[in-house]
């Protein structure tokens, strides 16, 4: 009887865990193995040639790989910084009082709900050099127009703008939820104690926003780093390789150029980077106590 009781939690988590192992762990091992071979999709399995870590060396020496990594880093840094800053500003604004606040709060999350591929398509229409809305408005205002996603030097910033449009609402939503947990009496008390507006924000509001801020930064960092859908729908990584992020680079190498072994090796390297970012995230939520109250609630 006691033995059975010991196994009970494992029985509960077993179905989900086993399925995840089959669809996540097994492919990972498969990719790890594949990354040690030279093999092109379409070739016979016999043509698979063991080449050790040569694919990894090839990746690390490839300027295309580093360019893609650099593009991804720029993309991630730009989107995360702007989305966080803008998101915080909008959250502070929407936390204030004005007529129609709740309706505006609902409208402000619309971009979040739009299918990423459709977002890409919407902006393709808006960015269109000849008959897009954006160039039309710029032209009417007497401002210079741009080639946007079609221009070598403007393509990356253009896809960054699209990411900002879609994901700033995420930052707003989470930070607004955090702002609503700031107790008004504490703010009032610090006001009476003579704290200035900036001091109240710095020492009271930000203290309550710690977790939401970290969550926004980490979620956006990881998601931006993996970006694929928007880019595929907007530019396919072009023009040239101006918007070729890591995910896009792997897709092109693996599915267009059919270098499955090489793409797998880069995939493993990619996974290592994301895992490092993920570790950071785990440490953060672990510290703020998502699982710290387990002890008292758990049946022994």
């Amino acid at each position: 009887m006691t033995i059975r009781k010991q196994y009970r939690p494992y029985l509960l988590i077993a179905p989900a865990t086993i399925i995840l192992m089959i669809i996540a762990l097994y492919p990972f091992v498969y990719a790890l193995q594949l990354s040690l071979y030279r093999w092109e999709m379409g070739q016979a399995v016999e043509a698979k040639k063991f080449i050790g870590v040569l694919n990894y060396i090839k990746a690390l020496l490839s300027s295309d790989f580093w360019t893609a990594l650099g593009t991804t880093a720029v993309y991630t840094a730009a989107t995360v910084v702007v989305e966080f800053g803008l998101g915080l500003a909008v959250a502070l604004l929407l936390n204030g009082e004005f007529v129609g606040r709740s309706v505006v709060r609902s409208i402000a999350i619309i971009p979040l709900a739009v299918t990423p591929v459709v977002v890409g398509l919407v902006w393709r229409v808006l960015y269109n050099t000849d008959y897009g809305l954006i160039n039309f408005i710029l032209h009417e205002l007497g401002l210079p127009t741009s080639k946007w996603i079609a221009g070598m030097s403007t393509a990356l910033i253009s896809v960054v703008i699209v990411d900002i449009w879609q994901w700033t609402p995420f930052a707003t939503l989470i930070l607004l939820a955090g702002l609503q947990t700031v107790p008004i009496d504490v703010l009032e008390a610090s006001k009476i104690d003579g704290a200035s507006g900036l001091q109240r924000f710095r020492y009271v509001t930000l203290a309550f926003l710690r977790t939401p801020i970290l969550v926004v930064l980490l979620f956006r960092t990881i998601d931006s780093f993996k970006v694929f859908d928007n880019i595929y729908a907007l530019t396919m990584g072009g023009p040239g390789s101006a918007t070729e992020t890591l995910s896009m680079h792997l897709y092109i190498q693996g599915f267009r150029n059919r270098h499955m072994g090489y793409a797998s090796a880069m995939g493993i390297l990619f996974l290592i980077v994301v895992t490092l970012i993920c570790q950071l995230f785990i440490r953060v939520i672990d510290n703020q106590g998502t699982s710290s109250n387990d002890g008292s609630r758990t049946r022994r």
Partner: protein
């Protein structure tokens, strides 16, 4: 008084910024709707036409000539079936993680999170080869299972948070009455947290509906979903803007309704329960 002098301009400024935010959020979405109901000639008109005779021709076209209904049904079947599967497996696992202490619990729990965080492109290369080998490419069954990569970790993490909030005394009372743990879960816990489960399930439907990369690689003519279908309107000879925007409109419309219905749970769902 200084502060009173500033009040009016500040109020005006606030409303101006609010109007700007609303416009920025609404105009792009409205634009695709407008393009969808325009005739080809009006789409290319410069300056852009705001007033024109709307036409349903693009919608008729995608349903009549482009097999759009088939792909719409695919998306619905896929989103619903993967979500159902994920909810059943996920709620049971979440209960185990919430109510029991066991060896390796934390490691397994965080491994599940890392599955969710991993880049899809890394998983899709081996998955494509494995699924090709067992002959299930372009088949809704394989995509349903692969989507568990997204939905199962999500549901386990969020639902565990909901179960954590249910007092353990409820379980204990049921236990004294002789309920098994699975029975306790179904009879006691699930009814209490059902609004949370419903919201989580709706979010899972949204994620599946919007998913693109797995669908792009793993499906073809037969099992294709809406996001992949939309991009088929981009051809070598040009882009069929009208039908493409009509398809986009049909794709995002149901999601809006779903997203509005779970607004209250959005924060929790999107942060995997890290922010409540």
């Amino acid at each position: 008084m200084k502060s009173r002098m500033w009040k009016l301009p500040k109020t005006i400024l606030v409303y101006l910024v609010v109007i700007l935010i609303v416009a920025a959020c609404v105009v792009p979405v409205l634009w695709i709707l407008l393009t969808a109901v325009k005739e080809q000639a009006d789409i290319f008109a410069m300056p852009p036409k705001l007033f024109f005779r709307p036409t349903m021709a693009n919608f008729v076209d995608i349903f009549a000539n482009r097999n759009f209904l088939h792909y719409l049904v695919n998306s619905v079947v896929l989103a619903v079936s993967t979500t159902l599967l994920a909810v059943v497996l996920g709620v049971v696992a979440a209960y185990g993680f919430s109510r029991y202490n066991f060896k390796g619990k934390k490691d397994i729990f965080f491994w599940i999170l890392s599955v969710r965080m991993s880049p899809a492109i890394v998983a899709v290369i081996p998955l494509f080869l494995i699924i090709a080998r067992i002959g299930l490419l372009d088949n809704l069954i394989s995509v349903t299972v692969v989507y568990l990569l997204i939905n199962l970790p999500f549901i386990i993490w969020v639902v565990k948070g909901f179960i954590d909030e249910v007092p353990i005394e409820l379980d204990e009372a049921a236990r004294i009455d002789g309920c098994s743990s699975l029975r306790t879960l179904v009879r006691i816990i699930v009814p209490v947290i059902s609004p949370g489960i419903a919201a989580t399930a709706i979010l899972s439907i949204i994620f599946s509906w919007n998913e693109f990369l797995f669908a792009l690689v793993l499906t073809g003519i037969n099992a294709r979903t809406l996001p992949v279908t939309i991009l088929q309107f981009i051809t070598l000879t040009g882009i069929n803007w009208g039908p493409m925007c009509a398809a986009g409109t049909v794709t995002i419309f149901p999601i809006f309704i779903f997203a509005l219905s779970v607004q209250k749970h959005l924060v929790r769902g999107l942060t995997l329960g890290a922010v409540k």
